[in-house]
Amino acid sequence: MRTAARETGSEKAMATVTRRPNKYLEAYGELIALRQERDPVWLRQLREDGWARFHAKGFPTTHDEDWRFTNLAALAKTPFQRVEKGSVAVSAQEIEKFRVPGAACQLVFVNGHFAPELSELGNLPEGLEICPLERAIDCGMVGAAPEGCAPEGIEQHLGRYADVRRDVFTALNTALWEDGAYLRIRRGAAIEQPVHLLYVSAGAGAEIMTHPRTLIVAEPTSHAAVIEDYVSIGAEAAFSNAVTELVAGQDAVVSHFLVERENLAAFNVSTLRLEQARGSNVASHSILLGGGLVRNNVHPVLSGEGAECLINGLFVGAGSQHLDNYMLVEHAQPQCSSRQFYNGILDGHAHGVFHGRIIVHKDAQKTDAKQTNRNLLLSDDARIDTKPQLEIHADDVKCTHGATIGQIEDEQLFYLRSRGIDEVSARNTLLYAFAAECLDRMQEPAAREFAEGLIRERLTELARNRQAAASAAAAEEEAQNWEEVR
């Protein structure tokens, strides 16, 4: 059975211009020269495959069904450059405001390169191994293990799940990645505090690109939470094209948080590929608050019996932000359950997309898959395209999907105001209540609190903007009336 439904969207999608991007070729050439001696053969092969794929396909256009609602013309025509290690200095002070209180440790990457002086790796909890990926590869080549890290698992996992043939951004990342985080959570280890991975774009006047690569291996029965966090310093446009592979071993419990809070000129494409073994339980929480054009791919494959997966997200857009969420949930084995909950809040001319695809493979009997996308549109010009897509090849499954689009209810607003709560606070309260549905699904207190703070801040901003816009409109109207009187 195959069903597809479209809530909105015009049939005549515009094609975007696809270019053979020279800057990417340049970057690839530089990287190959740089890594020639240092990459093992298998890795060189991966990069070559990635590059070949990207070179052959180029960026997708809106003719591509998976990119129907997201036009990449602006991304394709911007000449993003790769940045040499250490060419832009970022101070500890500039990083301070991005830290996550209560994190177990923090790895900071500036323009795609590990910044040891900004990172905090103090007392790592028992059972947690963490190391920049580049270092792990380099050490592996010379046969020396980097401190607190065992690189032997990398070859087994890196690039084995995120498929360069599925998606050109994954292909591009696989060709051009320079660094990222490698985490291994040892069998049975329970890491109480979240690990914070901070990816900073600091262009210092240039339009830069980075291709962060993260590999998280949670061994059987381990327990951990990871926050992957994208921020900008400065107002330049940057392009972050991240790929994260998260491998959850049998009965492992892992939470992954993606936080996008870059500047409004930023392009951010991230792909989270989850590989789940029997009985594992993975939660993916995406909190998209910043960025100009954001594409958030989450792709779990439930490949062991009884695996469970929660895909939880909140996207908040204003101005001309474009926030595209592409979920692909694959049920490959029986008795697995998946839950998708995405809430969107869109103001101004913001455009949100929720594409929720569920594939139930032939053997995945007793699948229980659910998908819900709820949206609040705060202005007439805000837009949401929501598209559920179920492909079911098994015959004993339970799959449901639903989407809603609404506004802030005048009734609710009046009710709050009639009790003495001012309009800005009342709006803010209602928006927060809507957003809080996502917060309530987060189990880790430190990560949840961090997310809550960011969301509150963003919603207050939205409520204030609205008030400013309203008073500007009122002032304009008054001025016009005055004109008429005169």
């Binding site: 009046f414 009710y415 709050l416 105001r417 009639s418 009790r419 309260t429 209540a433």
Partner: protein, 256 residues
């Protein structure tokens, strides 16, 4: 000075005039009841006083405690001490009942120049008032009105009133849909709040509620105008004879 002075109030919604010249004066310490048939404008009057934007005031003025009420936003009216118990209380998912009420109380206290209450200070007051209204403690942390029964919603309105302690409380058909037991409890909450500083405007379709809350004055609103005013006995008369009788001998409402 009267607490509320309504003069020649006209209001319409979508170009359709609903209030056609209402005059009414309430003094502190008084309980007034407005009765009238469906569609006479009772709820419109309540909503206009609570400053609902849907209704356009086309003529007249309203002084609340000496200030121009029609110039106020809903939150300003609330902070000045006006409270309306909704005929249909609104559900607000995701916002805790106690948290909401504390925010409201603090907004009002701040306006009065009083210190805001933290959760620890607020809780005893809240619990005491819940007890007065015989409300289940479980409702405390539930979302505002979400999944409440009809009676629980109405009691929740009165609970809010007893915590916010307004100068003027407007009860918009608070009795509709209540069983006798709930009616008694609601009335108990209102009666506990009666005081020389406070006035009530009790809007109702039935005389029943007035068995429990005895008004000082009863007014009959028909087709957007007060057609008759009197004492509590008027309510009984209306119960007997219906609203038709009120229209016949209808002088313009007079009361000071």
């Amino acid at each position: 000075m009267a607490l509320l002075e309504i003069q020649d109030l006209h209001a319409s919604v979508g170009g359709h005039e609903i209030l056609k010249g209402v005059n009414l004066t309430l003094n502190a310490g008084e309980v007034h009841s407005i009765m009238g048939p469906n569609g006479s404008g009772k709820s419109t009057l309540a909503q206009v006083l609570a400053r609902r934007e849907t209704y356009e005031v086309t003529r007249g003025r309203v002084l609340f405690d000496g200030k121009d009420l029609l110039d106020m936003q809903p939150e300003e009216a609330a902070r000045e001490g006006l409270f309306m118990a909704f005929q249909y209380p609104v559900e607000i998912p995701g916002i805790g009942n106690a948290y909401f009420l504390r925010s409201a109380l603090n907004a009002i206290r701040k306006h009065r120049g009083q210190d805001e209450l933290d959760a620890m200070d607020f809780l005893p007051l809240y619990k005491e008032r819940m007890k007065l209204l015989e409300m289940d403690d479980k409702l405390m942390n539930r979302a505002v009105n979400e999944g409440f029964s009809g009676g629980e919603k109405k009691r929740n309105e009165i609970l809010q009133m007893t915590v916010l302690e307004p100068k003027l409380a407007i009860l918009d058909e608070t009795d509709s849909g209540l069983d006798i037991d709930a009616l008694r409890i609601v009335a108990q909450g209102v009666n506990a709040m009666r005081s020389p500083e406070r006035a009530f405007l009790v809007i109702t379709h039935y005389q029943r509620l007035l068995d429990y809350i005895t008004p000082d004055f009863v007014h009959v609103l028909v087709d957007g105008k007060i057609v008759r005013s009197g004492g509590p006995e008027l309510a009984l008369e209306l119960e007997d004879k219906g609203y038709g009788s009120a229209e016949v001998d209808a002088p313009e409402a007079l009361h000071a």
